[in-house]
């Protein structure tokens, strides 16, 4: 059969497409839930209307996102059975458990409390309504944790034994699966990247409005909240990424070597900024390198030995039998760079923004017309430069919104493709994981259907987001400002319209 259309290839493409698409919404959902909850908390505590308007604005964008996140997630759960049935048979004993935990603990939380939050504005007292969005936020984070524990087991299987008689892997220590260092660092890294994504999103949209001098009060608050989120999350993403790199170096030396296009082991090993190689012959023709940096990234020591692709390939051949154990090197190499590059660029732009919008560097009070004035950003108290610099920063910040999304996608492509040809590292090969009974036509059909559906939905969702972004924070209604004091709403006027309806 033509390799390009082999069920394995198609199933992999489908998994890649649906996962990357799903993961455009997940990080935004996780971070916007918490940020919206934070803004609503500020409203409940201070009763300042700008916080309520900001809550409603970001809440709306959050809802448009989570709708897509939820529905695309359904496909993920059933895809294992549909396209990867031999995988499911082999690892279901282990992999199914965190998925069941995710459903029973996290999904129920999220979906139930989000209904309460959306429809509960005129049915729940302020504080209980606030608690609902926090519950949603906790649900999204728990969900991420369980699914990352499951994924980490595929990267680094622990707490299991192979039952030869039944031909499958069996769980021996669930606690180890949930708490192994791969799971913890991956969760840490993914969650901080999620907040980097949401922070940059908030900064970008606030900057868009500030550039047009609209909704200034809410957007100034949102801008600062976004910038602080970017700064903290960016730092944590870098720290956790570094930790994850070291974990990966120990557990999946091939992935690290591929990420660096390091063909032969070196001591000390250099970090390559750019490389162009010949995959067949197994060497680089061009490479720009920083000496010793890779040794440091891998092992915290500038002189450590780092094994190369060819070395690991040889040792895996000795261990697992003849075959090619190299992943797609260019994808791993460039995926790794795009991930770090785009992630760190958004962090840097956020840091610059945080510094530029410091109070004492803003336009002095006596030069402002009123509270609704957008202050110019001032560099080094150089007030002449401020007016020129400001529009540029707003523009750059708006475009930076997309950076973490690109970084996230490449991060996943790198981490999943860098593990090939294994689906469970060292235990199960991807080619042995596909559904044997599913035909090429079936996989092709489902791939075409999902891709087309996702493409249409992408257009719909982006248009809707754009519409609501442009509209800005909504006007407040009486029901918003006077929430009910008891559960179920007030009975004074039983026929008044609902505060929210579909």
């Amino acid at each position: 059969m033509d390799l390009a259309l082999a069920p394995e290839t198609l199933a992999r493409w489908q998994f890649g497409i649906t996962t990357v698409y799903h993961f455009l919404f997940v990080p935004l959902t996780i971070s916007l839930a918490a940020l919206t909850a934070g803004l609503q908390t500020a409203w409940v505590r201070t009763e300042k209307e700008k916080y309520l308007r900001a809550t409603k604005f970001w809440g709306k964008l959050f809802l448009i996102n989570i709708a897509m996140g939820v529905v695309t997630g359904i496909v993920q759960e059933f895809q294992f059975g549909m396209n990867w049935s031999d995988y499911s048979r082999f690892v279901g004993d282990i992999f199914g458990a965190p998925l069941a935990f995710e459903a029973l603990i996290a999904f129920f939380f999220e979906s139930t409390f989000i209904g309460l939050w959306i429809f509960g504005w005129d049915k729940l007292p302020k504080k209980i309504h606030l608690a609902c969005i926090w519950m949603v936020s906790i649900g999204t984070i728990l969900s991420a944790y369980f699914i990352l524990a499951a994924n980490s087991w595929m990267q680094h299987p622990v707490g299991y034994k192979i039952d030869k008689a039944r031909g499958r892997a069996e769980l021996t220590d669930f606690w180890a699966v949930l708490t192994q260092n791969t799971a913890l660092t991956q969760a840490f890294h993914t969650l901080s990247a999620a907040f980097l994504t949401g922070g940059a999103f908030m900064v970008g949209i606030s900057a868009y409005h500030l550039a047009r001098k609209k909704h200034i009060r809410e957007m100034k608050t949102s801008l600062r909240l976004g910038l602080i989120t970017v700064a903290i999350a960016g730092l944590l993403t870098a720290v956790s990424g570094d930790t994850l790199g070291k974990v990966m170096f120990k557990q999946q030396p091939m992935k690290m070597a591929a990420a660096e296009a390091l063909w032969d082991g070196q001591k000390p090993a250099p970090f390559s900024i750019f490389a162009y190689g010949d995959v067949e012959k197994g060497h680089n023709s061009v490479a720009i390198e920083i000496p010793g940096l890779l040794s440091f990234l891998a092992d915290d020591n500038f002189t450590s030995y780092v094994p190369g692709i060819n070395d690991v390939n040889k040792s895996e051949q000795q261990k697992f039998g003849p075959g090619d154990y190299r992943p797609n090197i260019p994808v791993a190499f460039w995926g790794f760079r795009w991930m770090i590059g785009f992630g760190m660029a958004s962090f840097a732009i956020g840091l610059a923004g945080l510094w530029l919008t410091r109070k004492k560097f803003m336009l002095p009070q006596h030069l402002r017309v009123g509270e609704d004035e957008v202050p110019h950003l001032v560099l080094f108290k150089n007030q002449a430069l401020g007016p020129k610099l400001t529009p540029w920063y707003w523009r750059i910040a708006t475009w930076t919104m997309a950076f973490p999304l690109i970084a996230n996608s490449w991060g996943w492509i790198f981490t999943e493709m860098g593990r090939q040809p294994w689906v469970v590292y060292g235990v199960l090969r991807t080619r042995d994981a596909v559904s044997p009974g599913v035909s090429q036509g079936e996989v092709l059909t489902s791939m075409a259907v999902f891709t087309a559906l996702y493409a249409i939905l992408a257009v719909v969702e982006v248009k809707l987001l754009a519409k609501y972004v442009k509209a800005g924070p909504p006007d407040l209604t009486e029901a918003d400002l006077n929430p009910p004091t008891k559960i179920g709403g007030d009975t004074r006027d039983a026929d008044k319209p609902m505060a929210f309806s579909y």
Binding site: L104, F108, E442, G489, S501
Partner: protein, 335 residues
């Protein structure tokens, strides 16, 4: 009772929860075309399930996840075997979820009407297809010695399974109609009751035929009790509906669904997916299940989490217990 038997029961409970809950919201989705006369009425219908449909759907995700964890072989055979129908169900669930959330996000009538059409079809098709799927699971399908499904999609469209599809479709529509009568005020409530009567009568005939067929094929004493209970509850639901006892009618249509799912699972046990090619190749609670250790962890999880879920989901229904009518819909659709 061994743990894999416990999990057989728990999976049955999760499917029961799914069909009970999403059953009525599928039904309401179907009613948006059958019952609602204008835009305001369609909005009333959709808002009766607005706060809860998402939580209802998670029962499916949990049933799927739990099957994966407790009976991986069953999960693998089922989802790879029923590939195309499942694909259709997934597409419907995606479009339906987006439709609920996005319909009101633009004020144009055409935009909203398109999403309403999506809600109708994407409620109707899964309501039908789940019945087809369970019909096939109970009847058995072509499974080989490696537990692989070797039939094709046409094998799944046999008379028994298609009848099963009609059972779930009509039952869910009936369930949705009595739910609507329970949750609305005004004209729509009266019409929902009338519609429930007709749909209920059709459902009774279809369900009776399907349940007797099932009983004759693979039933035992326990399933016979469930058959009688299902039919009796359905008849009683019709009487309660006629008498205007909406709460009772809804509870009884719920009992019908619970008893119908019970019939299916009683007929199935100890198989989880019989093979029509060779009895030895059938998937059973023992050869499809996970290890005792995994099942033990899962049992702890279920014992702690399930009551909590029922508690807070129940609370949601309490918070939104008020009936709604067209007067509760603000004239301006835009937000």
């Amino acid at each position: 009772m061994e743990l894999h038997d416990v999990w057989f029961v728990l999976i049955a409970v999760l499917w029961t929860g799914y069909f009970f809950l999403e059953g009525f919201d599928f039904g309401v989705g179907v009613l948006t075309k059958l019952l609602a006369r204008d835009r305001a009425e369609r909005r009333v219908l959709i808002n009766t399930i607005g706060p809860v449909w998402d939580g209802n759907e998670v029962w499916l995700l949990t049933a799927g996840g739990a099957t994966f964890a407790a009976f991986p072989e069953w999960y693998a055979t089922l989802f790879s075997g029923f590939y195309l129908p499942l694909l259709l169900i997934l597409v419907c669930l995606i479009v339906r979820g987006v439709a609920f959330e996005y319909r009101v996000k633009r004020p144009e009538e055409k935009w909203q009407r398109n999403w309403e059409t999506a809600i109708f079809w994407c409620s109707l098709l899964p309501a039908f297809l789940w019945g087809v799927a369970f019909g096939n699971i109970v009847r058995g399908v072509k499974i080989d010695q490696h537990f692989e499904y070797v039939g094709d999609v046409w094998d799944l469209l046999n008379p028994y399974a298609l009848l099963g599809g009609l059972v779930t479709l009509t039952l869910f529509t009936f369930h949705g109609a009595v739910f609507t009568a329970l949750k609305t005020v005004g004209d729509i409530r009266v019409r929902a009751r009338k519609l429930a009567r007709w749909v209920g009568l059709v459902a009774t005939i279809v369900a009776l035929a399907f349940l007797l067929w099932t009983q004759a094929d693979s039933g035992d004493g326990k399933s016979l009790v469930a058959v009688i209970l299902a039919v009796a509850a359905l008849a009683a639901a019709l009487v309660a509906n006629q008498a205007g006892r909406e709460g009772w009618a809804f509870a009884l249509s719920g009992v019908t669904i619970v008893a119908t799912v019970a019939v299916l699972f009683f007929s199935l046990f100890p198989n989880v997916m019989p093979s029509t090619l060779n009895g030895d190749w059938s998937l059973t609670v023992t050869n499809a299940s996970s290890s005792p250790y995994t099942l033990k962890i899962m049992t702890w999880l279920a014992a702690i989490a399930t009551p909590l879920v029922v508690l807070y989901q129940g609370w949601t229904y309490w918070v939104f217990r008020k009936r709604i009518g067209t007067q509760h819909i603000a004239p301006d659709a835009a937000h």
